[in-house]
């Protein structure tokens, strides 16, 4: 009897889970495997093209310094965007979690998170409108300032950083907010009553306890920024060549898919190493 029930349960579990996971297999896991396979081919194996197995695509990465330089450029961009977001996002999360009370907190929190759930392309486009030479920022500043100032941030690295920070800042505010909210206020009160100053409290209580949340937010920002290509393209123009844009080119312009697959896979390896290193922290932040 109990055996039958278990069997029925097993069928039920299988029936409920298999459609979703079959879908993920076809759309995510098989494609990733196919890409790995592809990265060892000499030519795109469609039609009657001659192809054979080769490690040339990976060799290209290690022999041509361009790719490694661009990957490093992308990693630096990721670090810069992550650091900026953490530095400006943490105080904001702190104010939301500890200073503002009641219903207005919920509303403000929603306001901070909302842009994150809107179209990222449109938000990058909105910065293109703001930053263009003779654009809104230029005109506003020149109207306020007493001296003539020619600001044309468009097509520069700062423009890319601004756009990316705008895109991903809500991530770190969200994770830091959740971590800060979990800190018991009585802990802070106790420290204060025993004579701890503001800086001591920040350094000894608030920062260590919110660190997992902060780091989770940092990883969530860093990973997509390293793989970004649309933001540098739109806001960077000619200086917007990054590792991501080179991969994009292999697939939509140069049509060297095997090389693109190898470059994608190297990026995936970098991402996986970062996620693996961060996974203990991420797990801690989740609970």
């Amino acid at each position: 009897m109990s055996n039958m029930l278990v069997k029925q349960d097993r069928l039920r579990i299988f029936g409920l889970l298999s459609p979703a996971y079959l879908w993920l297999t076809v759309a995510i896991f098989l494609p990733l495997s196919a890409m790995f396979y592809f990265s060892f081919l000499s030519e795109v194996p469609f039609g009657d093209a001659e192809w054979n197995f080769t490690t040339d695509n990976y060799r290209a990465f290690f022999e041509t310094p361009t790719y490694a330089i661009l990957l490093w450029k992308s990693i630096k961009l990721g670090l810069m965007v992550t650091l900026t977001s953490v530095l400006i996002g943490f105080p904001c999360a702190y104010v939301l979690a500890k200073t503002i009370q009641g219903r207005s907190r919920e509303a403000l929190f929603l306001l901070v998170i909302l842009p994150f759930w809107s179209n990222s392309l449109v938000r990058i486009f909105s910065w293109a409108i703001v930053l263009r030479g003779n654009g809104v920022l230029d005109r506003t500043l020149n109207a306020i300032l007493p001296f003539e100032l020619d600001i044309n941030l468009m097509f520069s690295t700062p423009a890319i950083v601004i756009g990316l920070v705008h895109s991903y800042l809500p991530y770190v505010i969200l994770t830091a907010y959740l971590a800060l909210q979990a800190i018991d206020d009585s802990l802070i009160d106790a420290a204060r009553s025993m004579g701890a100053g503001k800086i001591t409290i920040l350094r000894r209580i608030i920062l260590p306890l919110s660190l997992p949340g902060l780091l989770a937010g940092a990883v969530l920002i860093f990973v997509p920024v390293v793989g970004s290509f649309m933001e540098p393209r739109i806001l960077g123009g000619r200086v917007g060549t990054y590792y991501g844009t080179v991969i994009e080119d292999q697939f939509v312009a140069v049509f060297n898919w095997p090389l693109g697959a190898a470059l994608s896979f190297i990026l995936l390896a970098v991402v996986l190493v970062i996620l693996a290193l961060a996974s203990p922290i991420l797990r801690k932040a989740q609970t």
Binding site: W23, L32, L174
Partner: protein, 261 residues
Amino acid sequence: MSTLILKRLGKIWLALILFFLYAPILVMAFMSFNDSQYYQLPFEFSLRWYQDLAGNSEIIAAATRSVLIALITTIIATTLGTAASVALFRFEFKGKRILQVLLFPPIAIPWLITGTAMLIFFFGIGLGRGTPSVIIGHVALALPYVIVVVTARLATFDATLEEAARSLGANSWTVTRRVTLPWITPGIIAGALFAFAVSFDQFVVSYFLSEPGDSTLPVLIYTAIRKGFTPEINAISTIIITISMAVMLIAARFSNFGGER
């Protein structure tokens, strides 16, 4: 005394962040109502860019396609995701932890990698680019969100309610239909709205998977931005961002983004 100053500074900081987040969007929307084709100021109110939109068959076709893809994605992802959440929540079994971890790749791996991998695979199996490929990709990206949101709602469910219903003589179908489903409905609605937003706003995967001349709205906008654009792009962008923010505001009513409550 200094605490008061710090608090005030904190609030100013928050206000500055909100300004940073919303000002460019508002500027973009503002410019969609400006008459000048070259974004010249002073501002002259005009609806001409919205009128142009109405006559732009390419944009209308892309918009229709985007909405259709988002709706189909929502239906599939919500159904499959809800089923999976129920199993993941209700049963204890071997390999459950692995299955939960497998939900992360679609979220955590940069879309550039997943998108190009899908392009390769779909070409390899003969499906190629096109709307079916885009839908397959979008559903995979939306599934983890649906599962996370619905599971979160399930976690608040009081299992004794089911036991009570069963002890009162309800069979398992009746229990599911009359007790469990009504409780998790807000979670399912929120999950569906998330799925819609993921698909409707998705650019990267659509970009690699949609056929040239048969693209979704974000892909069309990307192409337009790179070719040189007019305030018409501001107009359609304003419409898009209004829709996605409205969808998320409604979703927030049904779930709370992991915040307190």
